[in-house]
Symmetry: C2
Subunit: 429 residues, 2 copies
């Protein structure tokens, strides 16, 4: 049975603003609204596909260029997308920001921008291809090896509300001490059944965060715990925290910045170190693995350039005996579906995945996911198994137009509450 | 458009014997007939798919077990095939042969047997899936990044004919000295347009093989040349050959055995070393790359466990700055199609691929491939783009039954000509 390979006839990259709670991190606080980009593809047979990625200005520029460039190409031409993005985007200068204010993902480079945008187009292509063929995305990636994907409850220090009047509200209340963190974890456990927890740290003095993890350990004995200060600690502080928390932690995430710092912490503590900062590109892998700087790489299909690239990363980790978990930044249901599909096909994804999703009260799909027992079933419906809610996209795009927020900037958001706040230089402690 | 995922309803592993010329190598000579295994799958929608792999007894045992085990499974469940093969095959003991007499692929282990068999089932699955969906295999692997795949002319020292009466004949004549090698290369160039050549060495004293490469360099100035003695040389011999041939060689393939030996040759010559012996599994990669033992890995989808696994290998090589070429053992058109598809999707496959195919006068596909300008066009027909010739398979299977040859054994074949011949211990020189 032969038929022409489906071709892309239309591609759009739509910036949206989604509401975000006042979640605290080493740089500052999440803004009331954060930009995302929704990529939609349409094929000559009328199938559509959707992907999601960062919506900040410099990602959007690449996304718009790639949206023009993919029109007319075969839907199956995934391997050439990175090159096409490179050719179509105007990236004559590589403006490296040493520390990405929008994602705590280490430095921000052209390569990272390209790959993050490519990921959304690859996911949208796989979604459309799956719908065209009647196959779920996981089947296009060699087939799922598990039927459900476990997620971890992603705990944040947070204020009860943003310090600005026009900001969205929620009913989670503040979490600014160990009791608040435990209360938050209890609700995560009650509502979604998460059985492991990650606390975003780097917000308070290490002693306070150690106390929070200890309180979690007491409240939820035996449940895996993680702490992630986003490189906020010096090596000596990292050593101290690792020693104090010891076996309570499943792994310690980015205690300090840089391959050498991580390697020293590892060598002197023997603790499992995870990262989504010091290894976020293929180029960083050889040195980091050679120095044993990381034992768990937090994959992220946005970072690495798509679902196939995530498989590539997994293959490297498998060969080198480095474990794999999954990172999350603020995202909606389209990315959560993509995360679930790729997590289902990677045999060596041994840890529960992170997801910010519970913090997002909005979505752009008609039937938002619900975590049950801390997990999501891997969808067997064609494509990603989600249906785009175009009214929701239109409304959130309208908000993007109206509010004029163009970039995520956790430092600026913190300045609204504390006018003296400047971007912290790391290590903070 | 939803439809049930195709399921496998029938799977067969058919051993065949194919005629093979008296090609010489470090161990001895190819037998008149060598076993291959043709894997056929049939789905509940009536689609069929074909794969090809080694047909020696211990591969066949695994293949038969896997053929039973895949029935009833989704056609798309590729990622679980290795595990399924492991479960279904009786591999309670790992009989490691230090040196594989049937393929010059380093040691023979259970893992290698498993992966070689899995590769044929994965290829057959992709073929059937492609035919079901109306897509070429390359489109199921993320899409081709090139429209044609270049192959290298694979030169062998050889006798004019096998020393046994009942053996197949051909009209290539002997090639046992530099003139003979150049004549062979000329015919390869004239008939198929190959613009690079690889000489299988390790057959004669190194001086003679150096002379053959020098003669090729003179006859075909500027064309890339390779020499592969299959680990037949000591380190000091390797150093001497590397020095004498210098820039004539595109790369030197497995001059000596083992990671440490290869690393020493590399360190002392700076020459590019390729391998299909010291790195043939993922487990061997970290040490070999850390020691800079190989600069070009010869991928082989049979070795590594399929087309997806070849992509995995390519990803690792890309991240570590190690180049990729492609190895070939005696094979027919089914494997050549699979090689061409996977070579078309791997961006960093920078060298012309090896293929024994011109030496095989038989095939199991209705329209055997023809190299044009040393290359094959990447097929855009559904699946592999080949049609199985079931009459040919039946005839070659009948030969397998009649002749009773069950295993490739180049040492035993040489003994037919030289009763005193025993398996050479390496290094020979």
């Amino acid at each position: 049975m032969s038929r022409p390979t489906p071709k892309i006839v239309k591609a759009t990259a739509t910036p949206i603003l989604i509401s975000d709670p006042p979640l605290l991190n080493v740089l500052g606080v999440h803004q009331p609204y954060t930009p995302r980009c929704i990529v939609e593809l349409e094929t000559d047979s009328g199938a559509t596909g959707v992907g999601e990625t960062y919506g900040d200005t410099d990602y959007l520029t690449v996304a718009n260029a790639l949206a023009s460039a993919v029109v007319g190409r075969p839907l199956t031409a995934l391997n050439g997308l990175r090159e096409l993005a490179h050719e179509s985007a105007d990236l004559s200068t590589d403006t490296v920001q040493e520390f990405d204010p929008a994602g705590l993902r280490g430095s921000r480079t052209n390569e990272k921008r390209l790959r993050s945008v490519v990921s959304a187009f690859e996911v949208a292509s796989l979604d459309a291809l799956g719908k065209t063929l009647g196959l779920p995305v996981h089947a296009l990636l060699g087939g799922k090896v598990r039927d459900r994907v476990e997620y971890s409850g992603y705990l944040f220090y947070r204020w009860a509300e943003h310090p600005t009047d026009d900001a969205p509200r929620d009913d989670w209340g503040a979490a600014l001490d160990p009791d608040g963190v435990v209360r938050q974890a209890q609700r995560f456990s009650d509502d979604y059944g998460f059985s492991s927890f990650k606390l975003k740290g780097g917000v308070f003095e290490p002693e306070q965060e150690i106390a929070a993890i200890a309180a979690l350990g007491k409240a939820f004995p035996g449940r895996p715990l993680r702490l992630d200060p986003n490189g906020g600690w010096s090596i000596s502080t990292s050593l101290r925290v690792a020693e104090e928390l010891g076996e309570l932690l499943e792994y310690l995430e980015d205690p300090t910045t840089g391959i050498n710092g991580m390697a020293e912490v590892r060598a002197r503590t023997g603790h499992l170190l995870a990262t989504n900062m010091c290894v976020t590109t293929f180029a960083e892998i050889p040195e980091a693995f050679a120095k044993d700087a990381v034992q768990v790489v937090l994959s992220d299909h946005h970072y690495w350039g798509g679902l196939q690239a995530t498989r590539d990363l997994a293959a490297i980790c498998r060969a080198y005996g480095v474990a794999l978990s999954m990172h999350s930044n603020t995202h909606l249901g389209v990315s959560l579906a993509a995360m679930t599909h790729v997590a289902s096909v990677v045999e060596n994804l041994e840890y529960a995945c992170d997801s910010h999703r519970p913090w997002q009260t909005e979505d752009v799909i008609t039937r938002p996911h619900t975590f049950v027992d801390g997990a999501l079933d891997v969808p067997d419906d064609p494509g990603l198994g989600v249906e785009l809610d175009r009214d929701a996209v239109a409304a959130l795009h309208d908000r993007w137009i109206r509010l004029g927020v163009r970039d995520r900037d956790d430092v600026a958001a913190m300045r609204k509450a504390d006018p003296t706040w400047t971007q912290p230089s790391l290590p903070r402690w």
